[in-house]
C-alpha cells in the first residue's frame, strides 16, 4: 500500500533524523542565494547569520554629520547657522558648495550648516541632534517633506523654535510643514484657512499635482499676486518667492545668493550690513537637456537640428533610422549638478546606437512636457520608440498628490512602452545591496506602486547614492540592463511583424506530464491556438502551425503516445554544458545548490534540454519548475533555492539562441518571478532579473489576481495583460439537493393541510441523506414537532439549499479571444446588481425589490440567515426576480446570435419609453411591480455599461499592441463584481496605492465581519470572548477589498486608521474600551509572501498598532494583547514591546509555507512534518522598531503567540476562488498546528469569512469545506463544465481533490462523506471513470493516488472493496502510462 501511495518524490523513511541534523545548519537555512566558495578569504561569512542592517535597525545608517560644515572663527564675524531637511539628496552637494565658497569669500558672516535627509529623522538619536541643532539655528529650510510620520516630527521640532528662528523656509511639502513658513511679516500659518488671494493660489487645485505646480505658477505670476498684498508685507512675500526661485534654480551660485539674501534681510546680527546678492539665475521650467548640447532647448525640432550636427557621433546615430528613446528627468538633478546618473544612461544608450531625447520638468506634472516634446505636433505621432522615466515618480504628482487619469491620457497619446526606472533616494548604494527587502518600502510605495497606476513598467534601480556626498551615481550593470531593455522595447515598435520572434512560455506545475500548460481558469492550448491564428492573420510567421489545438498539445508533449508513454516532452534544443556556461554568466552561482551542470533536471545527463516546439518565428516552450517540489529537505529548510541549471538554460536559449524579441508567459502563473532575490528593486545577483535578461516580457494574467501579477511586474518586468475568468454560473441543485428543494416548495403550499408533518419528515430524512445534518440541527425523524418549529426546521434547510444554489462558480475554462456571450454574463450581472454603490448613487436590485414590498433588505438577509421561512422565501423570490429582470434586459440588448449589439443605442431607445423598459415589463408580473422606476433606471444604466465591458474582447488586441511596442492601458486587477473597472480585460494590471488602504468603507465592512466572528465564537465557546485569533492576510484580498482584512485586524485589537491630508494611511489611534464594548482581542497575523512584498508599510503599521495596544495602560482582562505580551515577555526574558510581536510572514524573497508543494507532490510523512515546515518558513517577523532589518526569524514568539489562539480565521475574497480551488488557503492554515501548540491541546475553532456577496457570512471552516464540495467537486454542473475542457479539465478535478486532502492535513475539517461521495462520483461511475482515464491519464493516476492517500493517511474511512478497486485502477493506469499492454 505504502509504495502505491508514494510518489516518485517520496524519500525513504529515515528522513526525520536527517531533518533534525540538517536543521542545525544555519548555512542551509540562511544562505538563500548562493555564494561562490572559491578562494574568497572571508567565505566563512556565509555561515554567519547576516542581518540586512546593523546599528539602529533602520533603513539608512547615514548621518547628517557628513553634511555639517563648521567654519573656522575669524575676524569676529557673526555666524549664521542653517539647518535643512530635504528629501532630495541632490541638494546636499550644491548647498555644501555654496556654503564653502561663502565662507571663503564673504567678509560679513560665516556660515555653519547641517543637513538632514528626511529619512534619517526616524532614528531617535539623530532626531535629538536635529532638535538640538535647531536650538541655536538662525535659518531653517525644508523641502519635499511628504512622509507623514516624518513630517510630524519636523513640525514638532521646528514649531518649538519657530518664533525664535530668524527665518523658516519650507518648499513644497505637506501642508502641516508648509504652515511653518515665516519670513518677517510673511507667514503661512493660515495656509488652507485664510481667504487671502495669496493662499487661494495654493488651494486652487485641490486635485492632482496642483500644489507644487501652483507654487511654480505663483513664481511666474509674482507681480499680479503682490498687487493684492499690503506694501510692507509685499517685500517679505517677494523675498519668499525669490527664495523659491533660488531654490528651484538649485545651482551653488543660486544657493549662495539665496543665503546672502535671507541672512542679510532677516538675521538680526547682520542688520544694517549691506549684503549684495544677484538675482536668481533662471533655467527653463521644462525643456530638453543633453549633457553635451550647448544649451537647453524648449523646442524638440531645434534639439534634433542640433543633434543632427553633432560631430562626435556617427551618421547612423544622427540619421533617421536609429531607435529613439525618450528620457524623463528631474530638473533639480540637472540644476544642482547631480546628474552623473543621467549622463550614464544617455551615454549607454548612445553607445548602443540609440538616439535620446531627454526632457525635464521642474514641477511635479510631466504630462505636459511629455506631450509637448515627445509627440510630433503636426503628425501627432510619437517622436520616440520607447520612453524611460528616470525620476521614479508617477508622471503627474511626484511624491504629492497624483493624477493617474491625466498621466494615462498623456501616455495613451504617446503610445509607446513606458518604463519607470528609479535612483535610490532613501538608502545608500551599500544599504540597498545589503538589504534583502531591496528598496526602502516608502520608495516602493512612491516610486514603484504609484508609477504602476500610470502603466509604468520595469522598476529597475539604475542609480545608487553615495553616503558622503549624497550624490547619485550610475550602477553600471543596472544601467546596462535598463538601456538594453529600453532599446529592445523600442525595437518592437520598429521591427516588422514577419521578422518578430516570440517565445510563448507555458507552465507545468506541479511537474507532471498531465500538467503541461497549467494556468488558473485558462484553457491554455486552446488559447495559444487562438492567439497564434490571430497573429498569423496579422502577419506574423507561424509556419507549420497544426490544424487544431489538440494537435498543438500533441506537438508539444511529443505525440499522442506521450500522453501515455514518454519520458520527456518534445525536445526543442539540446544545449551542451559548454554552450550553456558560455551563454549563462551566472551558471557557476547555481552550482552551490545544484552541483555542476547539467545536473538531472531538464537534462539527458550530457546536455541541458529545452522542451517545446517552434513554428516559424514562434517558439512554444515549457518553463522548467523550481526543481525542489518533491524534495522535503529543501521544502523544509531552504528559505529559497536558486533556479537549477535547466531553468537557466531555458532562458538562455530564449534570449541568446532563439533570440526572442519578446517572451509571452501564458497564464497565471509561473516560477520565474518567484525566484530568489530582493523583494523589490533587483540587483545584479537577483535571479528574476538575470533570467529574464534583456527580453521584453509580456504576461497573460488572470484579472482577479492583481497581487501576484504585481510580483511578476516588479520582479520579472512583465507587461501584464489581464484575461477574464470564465463566466460564472449559479451552482444550482442536483440529486438529493434538488429533491429537497421540491419537497420544501410542496411543504410551503401544503403546510397548513394535514400533510405538513409528513412532508417535514421527508425533508428531514432527505436532508440527512445529503449530509446536511452537520449544517442544520435536525430533529429525529418521526418526532412530533409544533407547526412553528416545523417552519423553522424547513426554513433553515431551505436557507442552506438556497445558499448552495446561488453560489457563483466559474464554469469551464476561459479561452483567450472568446469573451462570454451576453447570456453567459447574466449571473455575473446579477451579482454586480446585488451590491449597493453609494459612491455612484446606485441602490442594489435586492434592496429596490425588498423596498417595493415594504421590507429592508438587511432585515431579510438576517431573517433568512436565521431560517425564518417567510424571509427565506422572500429572499428566494427577490433572487429569482433579479435574475428574471436582468435576463429580460440582456435579451433585449442582444441580437439573434446572442451577441451584444450596441448597448448604448439600445439603452437610449429603451430609456426613451418608460413603459418599454424590459425590466419593468418583467417585474410587472411579479409581486415587485411597484419597484422604484428611477432607481431601477440608474441601476440598469450602470449594468448596461458593465455588460458592454464584460463581453468586450480586448485580450488579443492588447497583446498585439504590446508586441507592436505600443502602450497597454493600465487597469486595476480584482473582482469584476466588486469593481467593474477591472473590465474590459486586456489591461496592464496594477494593484493600488498601498498607502491608501484600509479605506473608511473597508473599515466599515470589517467591523461587521469581526463582530459576527466574535459573536459566533462566543456562541460556540460558552459565551467567552476569544483571547487570540490567528489569521491570514492575503495580497489579492486586500487589493480587492481595499484592505478589509487589514481593517479586521485593526478592529480586533481595537484601533482605527488615521489618514493624512493626502488620504494616505500611515497612522493608527486606539479606540477606547467604552466605544469598543469588549476586550481587545489578541491576534497572530500571518502575511502571505505576496502581501509582504506589496504591503510592507501596512505590516509596519500593524506592528506599530499591536505594540501600541500592548503598551496601553489597561486592565489585562480587557486587553488580551497586553495580557499575552506580559506573559511572553516574562517567559522569554524580553521587553513587553518586543514580546508584542504579532506580524509574521516568510523570509524576504521566499513565498508560501511549502505545505502546498508537499501535499501536491505527496512528499510528506506526517502532519508534524507539515507543521515544522509551516513554522520554519513562516516565523519571520517584521519589526517596526527596526524596519530596515527586514524579516527576522522569531520562531519562539511565533509559537507562543499561536499557542494562545482560540480561533483561526481567513477571508474569502471572491466567488470564483474558494477553499479547494487553490492550494494557498490550506497552505497557510494553522488549525492543527495551534492545537499542537496549545497547552490544553484543544482544537481551535476555525472560521472562514465570506464577503463575496452582499450578505457577508462567517462560517466555520468545516461548513465552508462542505459548501465548497457541494458546489464544486460533487456538483455535476461544475465537473461536466470542466470535462468539456478535456485534458485540462481532468487536471482541475484532480486538483480539487488534492486540495481537499490538504485541508484534512492542516485542519482535519473534512467530513468523511466528502471523500465517499467523490469516490462514487468519479470512480464508481464506470462511464465517468473511463472518460477521465482516456482524457488525461496522468491526472487520472494522480486522482486515484490521492484517494488512496486520503485513506492511507486516515482521512477517509471506506469499504475494503472501494480501496481494492482503487488499487486495481492504479496499476491499470500505471501500466497504461508505461505502455504495457495487457
Amino acid at each position: 500500500m505504502a509504495s502505491l501511495v508514494s510518489s516518485p518524490f517520496t524519500l525513504p523513511s529515515s528522513k526525520p533524523d536527517q531533518i533534525s541534523s540538517l536543521s542545525q545548519k544555519h548555512f542551509f537555512l540562511h544562505s538563500f542565494l548562493p555564494k561562490k566558495t572559491n578562494n574568497q578569504p572571508n567565505s566563512k561569512s556565509s555561515l554567519k547569520v547576516k542581518c540586512a542592517v546593523t546599528g539602529n535597525g533602520l533603513f539608512t545608517q547615514t548621518t547628517p554629520e557628513v553634511r555639517r560644515i563648521v567654519p573656522e572663527k575669524k575676524d569676529n564675524l557673526p555666524t549664521v547657522k542653517i539647518v535643512y531637511v530635504v528629501l532630495e539628496a541632490q541638494y546636499q552637494s550644491s548647498l555644501s558648495n555654496a556654503v564653502q565658497s561663502l565662507n571663503q569669500t564673504s567678509n560679513f558672516a560665516l556660515f555653519e550648516v547641517v543637513g538632514y535627509l528626511v529619512e534619517e529623522l526616524r532614528d531617535e538619536s539623530t532626531y535629538k541632534t536635529f532638535c538640538k541643532d535647531l536650538e541655536d539655528a538662525n535659518i531653517f529650510i525644508g523641502s519635499l517633506i511628504f512622509v507623514e510620520e516624518l513630517a510630524l516630527k519636523v513640525k514638532a521640532a521646528v514649531e518649538k523654535e519657530r518664533d525664535r528662528l530668524d527665518a523658516v523656509l519650507v518648499f513644497p511639502s505637506m501642508p502641516e510643514v508648509m504652515r511653518l513658513n515665516k519670513l518677517g511679516s510673511f507667514s503661512m500659518s493660515q495656509l488652507g484657512q485664510s481667504k487671502s488671494p495669496f493662499f487661494k493660489l495654493f488651494k486652487r487645485k485641490k486635485q492632482g499635482a496642483g500644489f507644487a505646480d501652483s507654487m511654480l505658477k505663483l513664481v511666474r505670476t509674482l507681480p499680479k499676486v503682490l498687487k493684492y498684498l499690503p506694501s510692507d508685507k509685499a517685500q517679505d512675500a517677494r523675498l519668499y518667492i525669490l527664495s523659491l526661485q533660488f531654490w528651484l534654480g538649485g545651482s551653488p551660485d543660486n544657493l549662495q545668493n539665496f543665503l546672502k539674501m535671507i541672512s542679510g534681510s532677516y538675521v538680526p546680527a547682520l542688520k544694517g550690513t549691506k549684503i549684495d546678492y544677484s538675482d536668481p539665475v533662471l533655467f527653463l521650467d521644462s525643456g530638453i537637456w543633453h549633457p553635451i548640447a550647448p544649451s537647453m532647448y524648449d523646442d524638440v525640432k531645434e534639439y534634433l537640428n542640433w543633434y543632427g550636427t553633432r560631430r562626435d557621433v556617427n551618421e547612423k546615430l544622427r540619421g533617421p533610422n536609429a531607435p529613439v528613446i525618450g528620457l524623463v528627468l528631474q530638473r533639480s538633478h540637472i540644476v544642482t549638478g547631480d546628474e552623473s546618473h543621467y549622463v550614464a544612461v544617455i551615454m549607454e544608450l548612445e553607445a548602443r546606437g540609440a538616439k535620446v531625447i531627454p526632457i525635464f520638468a521642474g514641477g511635479l506634472d510631466f504630462s505636459g512636457p511629455v506631450e509637448r516634446f515627445l509627440i510630433d505636433p503636426v503628425t501627432k505621432k510619437p517622436m520616440v520608440n520607447s520612453v524611460v522615466s528616470l525620476t521614479g515618480f508617477a508622471l503627474v504628482g511626484g511624491p504629492a498628490r497624483q493624477d493617474h487619469p491625466r498621466a494615462v491620457e498623456a501616455l495613451m497619446k504617446l503610445d509607446v512602452p513606458y518604463i519607470v526606472a528609479l535612483p535610490l533616494v532613501f538608502q545608500t548604494t551599500e544599504e540597498w545591496l545589503n538589504s534583502t527587502l531591496g528598496l526602502h518600502p516608502i520608495q516602493v510605495a512612491l516610486q514603484v506602486a504609484l508609477p504602476e497606476l500610470d502603466g509604468g513598467m520595469e522598476p529597475i534601480v539604475f542609480a545608487g547614492r553615495d553616503p558622503r556626498t549624497g550624490k547619485s551615481h550610475a550602477l553600471h550593470k543596472r544601467v546596462e540592463q535598463l538601456c538594453t531593455r529600453a532599446i529592445k522595447w523600442a525595437e518592437l515598435k520598429r521591427k516588422s511583424k514577419t521578422q518578430k520572434k516570440l517565445a510563448i512560455t507555458v507552465f507545468s506545475f506541479p511537474p507532471d506530464k498531465g500538467n503541461v500548460g497549467t494556468a488558473a481558469y485558462l484553457n491554455v492550448f486552446a488559447s495559444i491556438y487562438s492567439v497564434l491564428k490571430d497573429l498569423e492573420k496579422d502577419g506574423y510567421n507561424v509556419e507549420g502551425l497544426p490544424e487544431t489545438a489538440e494537435a498543438l498539445i500533441e506537438d508539444v508533449i511529443h505525440d499522442k503516445e506521450a500522453q501515455f508513454n514518454s519520458p520527456n516532452l518534445n525536445v526543442a534544443y539540446k544545449m551542451s554544458v559548454r554552450e550553456y556556461q558560455g551563454l549563462t554568466p551566472y551558471a557557476t552561482a547555481l552550482e552551490e545548490n545544484w552541483g555542476k551542470p547539467p545536473g538531472n533536471l531538464n537534462s539527458d545527463g550530457e546536455n541541458l534540454l529545452v522542451y517545446g516546439k517552434q513554428y516559424g518565428n514562434v517558439f512554444i516552450g515549457v518553463q522548467p519548475t523550481f526543481g525542489y517540489e518533491g524534495d522535503p529537505m529543501r521544502l523544509l529548510f531552504s528559505k529559497s533555492a536558486s533556479p537549477h541549471h535547466g531553468f537557466a538554460a531555458y532562458y538562455s536559449f530564449v534570449e541568446k539562441i532563439f533570440k526572442a524579441d519578446a517572451v509571452l508567459h501564458f497564464g497565471t502563473h509561473g516560477s520565474l518571478e518567484f525566484m530568489p532575490g530582493k523583494q523589490v528593486g533587483m540587483s545584479d545577483v537577483c535571479y528574476p532579473d538575470s533570467l529574464i535578461g534583456n527580453i521584453p516580457n509580456v504576461y497573460y494574467y488572470a484579472a482577479n489576481n492583481p497581487s501576484e501579477a504585481t510580483i511578476a511586474k516588479r520582479r520579472s518586468y512583465a507587461n501584464t495583460i489581464s484575461y477574464l475568468t470564465p463566466p460564472a454560473e449559479n451552482a444550482g441543485l442536483y440529486k438529493g439537493l434538488k429533491q429537497l428543494s421540491e419537497l420544501i416548495s410542496s411543504y410551503q403550499s401544503l403546510k397548513d393541510s394535514g400533510r405538513g408533518q409528513q412532508i417535514v419528515n421527508s425533508i428531514i430524512s432527505t436532508a440527512k441523506q445529503c449530509n446536511l445534518d452537520k449544517d442544520v440541527q435536525l430533529p429525529d425523524e418521526g418526532e412530533e414537532i409544533s407547526a412553528k418549529e416545523r417552519d423553522l426546521v424547513v426554513g433553515k434547510v431551505y436557507s442552506k439549499i438556497m445558499e448552495i444554489e446561488s453560489r457563483l462558480l466559474p464554469c469551464g475554462l476561459h479561452v483567450i479571444g472568446e469573451p462570454p456571450s451576453a447570456m453567459e454574463a447574466v449571473a455575473t450581472l446579477v451579482n454586480i446588481a446585488a451590491l449597493d454603490r453609494p459612491e455612484d448613487a446606485i441602490i442594489s436590485l435586492p434592496a429596490i425589490l425588498a423596498g417595493s414590498v415594504g421590507r429592508n433588505i438587511e432585515d431579510v438577509y438576517r431573517g433568512s440567515d436565521k431560517g425564518i421561512l417567510k424571509d427565506v422565501e422572500l429572499l428566494r423570490q427577490i433572487t429569482e426576480a433579479s435574475r428574471g429582470a436582468i435576463s429580460a434586459f440582456v435579451e433585449r440588448t442582444t441580437n439573434k446570435k446572442g451577441q451584444v449589439v450596441d448597448v448604448a443605442d439600445k439603452l437610449s431607445s429603451i430609456l426613451g419609453f418608460g413603459i418599454n423598459e424590459p425590466w419593468i415589463q418583467y417585474l410587472s408580473s411579479t409581486k415587485f411591480y411597484r419597484a422604484d422606476r428611477e432607481n431601477l433606471r440608474v441601476l440598469f444604466e450602470f449594468l448596461g455599461e458593465c455588460l458592454k465591458l464584460v463581453v468586450a474582447d480586448n485580450e488579443l488586441g492588447s497583446l498585439k499592441q504590446a508586441l507592436e511596442g505600443k502602450y497597454v492601458e493600465p487597469g486595476p486587477g480584482g473582482d469584476p463584481i466588486r469593481n467593474p473597472k477591472v473590465l474590459p480585460t486586456g489591461k496592464n494590471i496594477h494593484a493600488l496605492d498601498p498607502q491608501a488602504i484600509p479605506t473608511a468603507a473597508a473599515m466599515q465592512s470589517a467591523k461587521i465581519v469581526v463582530d459576527r466572528l466574535i459573536e459566533r465564537q462566543k456562541v460556540d465557546n460558552g459565551g467567552k470572548y476569544p483571547e487570540t485569533i490567528a489569521l491570514v492576510l492575503w495580497g489579492t484580498d486586500n487589493i480587492k477589498t481595499y484592505g478589509e482584512s487589514l481593517a479586521q485586524v485593526l478592529w480586533m485589537i481595537g484601533v482605527r486608521p488615521v489618514a493624512d491630508t493626502f488620504g494616505r494611511v500611515n497612522r493608527v489611534e486606539a479606540v477606547s474600551l467604552e466605544e469598543l464594548g469588549r476586550p481587545r482581542i489578541d491576534v497572530v497575523v500571518n502575511c502571505s509572501g505576496v502581501f509582504r512584498d506589496l504591503f510592507i508599510n501596512q505590516m509596519n503599521l500593524l506592528d506599530r498598532a499591536v505594540k501600541m495596544v500592548a503598551e496601553l495602560d489597561e486592565p489585562v482582562e480587557q486587553n488580551y494583547v497586553r495580557k499575552h505580551a506580559f506573559e511572553q515577555a516574562q517567559a522569554l526574558g524580553i521587553e513587553v514591546r518586543e514580546a508584542a510581536t504579532r506580524v509574521f510572514s516568510n523570509a524576504s524573497g521566499s513565498y508560501s509555507s511549502n505545505v502546498n508543494l508537499a501535499v501536491e507532490n505527496s512528499s510528506w510523512n506526517d502532519e508534524k512534518q507539515l507543521q515544522d515546515m509551516y513554522l520554519s518558513r513562516k516565523s519571520f517577523a517584521f519589526d517596526c522598531d527596526a524596519p530596515g532589518a527586514g524579516m527576522t526569524e522569531k520562531r519562539k514568539v511565533f509559537e507562543m503567540a499561536l499557542s494562545t489562539a482560540d480561533a483561526t480565521f481567513q477571508n474569502l475574497d471572491s466567488s470564483e476562488i474558494s477553499l479547494t480551488d487553490v492550494s494557498h488557503y490550506f497552505d497557510s492554515d494553522p488549525t492543527n498546528l495551534v492545537q499542537n501548540l496549545r497547552k490544553d491541546g484543544k482544537k481551535p475553532s476555525a472560521y472562514i469569512a465570506d464577503t463575496t456577496t452582499a450578505n457577508a457570512q462567517v462560517r466555520t471552516l468545516s461548513e465552508t469545506v462542505r459548501l465548497d464540495a457541494r458546489t464544486k467537486l460533487l456538483n455535476p454542473k461544475w465537473y461536466e463544465g470542466m470535462m468539456s475542457s478535456g485534458y485540462e479539465g481532468v487536471r482541475e478535478i484532480e486538483k480539487r481533490l488534492t486540495n481537499t486532502v490538504g485541508w484534512s492535513a492542516t485542519s482535519g475539517q473534512v467530513d468523511n462523506w466528502v471523500y465517499e461521495e467523490a469516490n462514487s462520483t468519479f470512480i464508481q461511475d464506470e462511464n465517468m471513470l473511463n472518460r477521465l482515464m482516456s482524457t488525461n491519464p496522468n491526472s487520472f493516476r494522480k486522482l486515484v493516488q490521492t484517494f488512496l492517500e486520503a485513506n492511507g493517511r486516515g482521512y477517509w474511512e471506506t469499504s475494503e472493496d472501494n480501496i481494492e478497486r482503487l488499487r486495481q485502477l492504479y496499476s491499470e493506469v500505471e501500466d497504461k502510462i508505461e505502455g504495457i499492454d495487457r
Partner: protein
C-alpha cells in the same frame, strides 16, 4: 563652437540673466566612487595630430575645431609625479590631461563624454600610457587595463574586481560595491596593489567612457606580448567569449580556447 549664445538666441527672456554655472567651477566636495573629475582651471589646450581615424565617427576625422589653439600639451607634470612615485597626483593629472585633450567642451563641462575620446590622438594617449608603464614596471596604465579587461571578456564588473576598484560586501549573496574615492584606493605601488589599479577612470557616469578609452586605436595590439599563460585561468574566462557576439575590436588579439 557656440556655447551659451544659442540659449540666449532661443530664449531672449533669459538674456539678462547670468548663464548657468555648472559645478565645474567649484571645488568638488569629497566624493566617493572612484573619482570626481578635478576642476580644470588650466586653460592649456592641445595641438593634436589629425591623422587618426575614429571608429565612432564617420564624418571627417578632422579635429581642428576643438584643437585650433596653439600650445603643445605638456606631459612634464605627469612625468614628474610618476617619477617621484606620487601616484595620487599623477592620477589627478592624468584625468586633467584627458579632459584637456578631449577638447574645449569637455573642459567646460569638467568631464569627458564618451564620444569625445575619439578626438584624443593616438600619440597623446600612448604617451600617457607609456609614462605610467615606465614608472610602474608595467603594472599601471591603460594598456595594462585593456589587457585585463579583454581577459574578462570586457565584463566591467569582473574588470573592476580585478583591478581593485570594487570591493566584496559581507552579504549572504556575493555582491560588490564600488570603492570610495580616494581613501579606499591604493596610492602606492607594492605587491598588494592590483595590476591595472591606476589610473582611475570615473564610473559615476557608467562605463562608456572607460570603454571608449580602452577601445581607442592607441591601445590596439599593445598587449600581445603579455598575453601568454594567464588567459583562461579565471573561472569566467571561457564564457561568452566564444559565442561570436563580441565585436572583434582587435585584429591582433589572439583568443585562447584552452580551459
Amino acid at each position: 563652437m557656440t556655447t551659451n549664445s544659442l540659449r540666449y538666441l532661443h530664449h531672449p527672456q533669459y538674456s539678462s540673466l547670468k548663464r548657468l554655472s555648472t559645478s565645474e567651477s567649484i571645488p568638488p566636495p569629497p566624493s566617493s566612487l572612484f573619482i570626481r573629475p578635478s576642476s580644470s582651471s588650466s586653460s592649456s589646450t592641445n595641438n593634436l595630430s589629425s591623422t587618426t581615424t575614429f571608429s565612432l565617427s564617420s564624418t571627417t576625422s578632422s579635429t581642428s575645431s576643438t584643437t585650433s589653439t596653439s600650445q603643445p600639451i605638456s606631459f612634464d607634470a605627469l612625468q614628474h609625479h610618476l617619477s617621484t612615485q606620487n601616484f595620487r597626483q599623477a592620477d589627478e593629472e592624468t584625468r586633467r590631461l584627458l579632459i584637456v585633450l578631449a577638447g574645449e567642451a569637455a573642459e567646460k563641462r569638467g568631464y569627458v563624454f564618451f564620444s569625445e575620446v575619439q578626438f584624443i590622438s593616438e600619440a597623446d594617449l600612448i604617451a600617457i600610457d607609456d609614462l605610467w608603464k615606465q614608472y610602474s614596471s608595467n603594472r599601471f596604465g591603460y594598456s595594462v587595463q585593456k589587457r585585463l579587461w579583454q581577459k574578462v571578456d570586457k565584463d566591467f564588473t569582473k574588470f573592476f574586481l580585478k583591478v581593485g576598484w570594487m570591493k566584496k560586501l559581507d552579504t549572504e549573496v556575493e555582491q560588490y560595491n564600488y570603492r570610495a574615492f580616494p581613501n579606499e584606493f591604493m596610492w602606492e605601488l607594492n605587491d598588494e596593489t592590483p595590476e591595472g589599479h591606476l589610473p582611475l577612470t570615473n564610473a559615476l557616469r557608467g562605463t562608456q567612457l572607460l570603454n571608449s578609452i580602452l577601445s581607442h586605436p592607441a591601445f590596439e595590439g599593445q598587449e600581445d606580448d603579455e598575453e601568454e599563460g594567464e588567459v583562461g585561468g579565471e573561472d569566467g574566462a571561457v564564457k561568452g567569449l566564444r559565442d561570436g557576439a563580441k565585436p572583434l575590436s582587435n585584429k591582433f588579439f589572439k583568443p585562447d580556447y584552452s580551459f
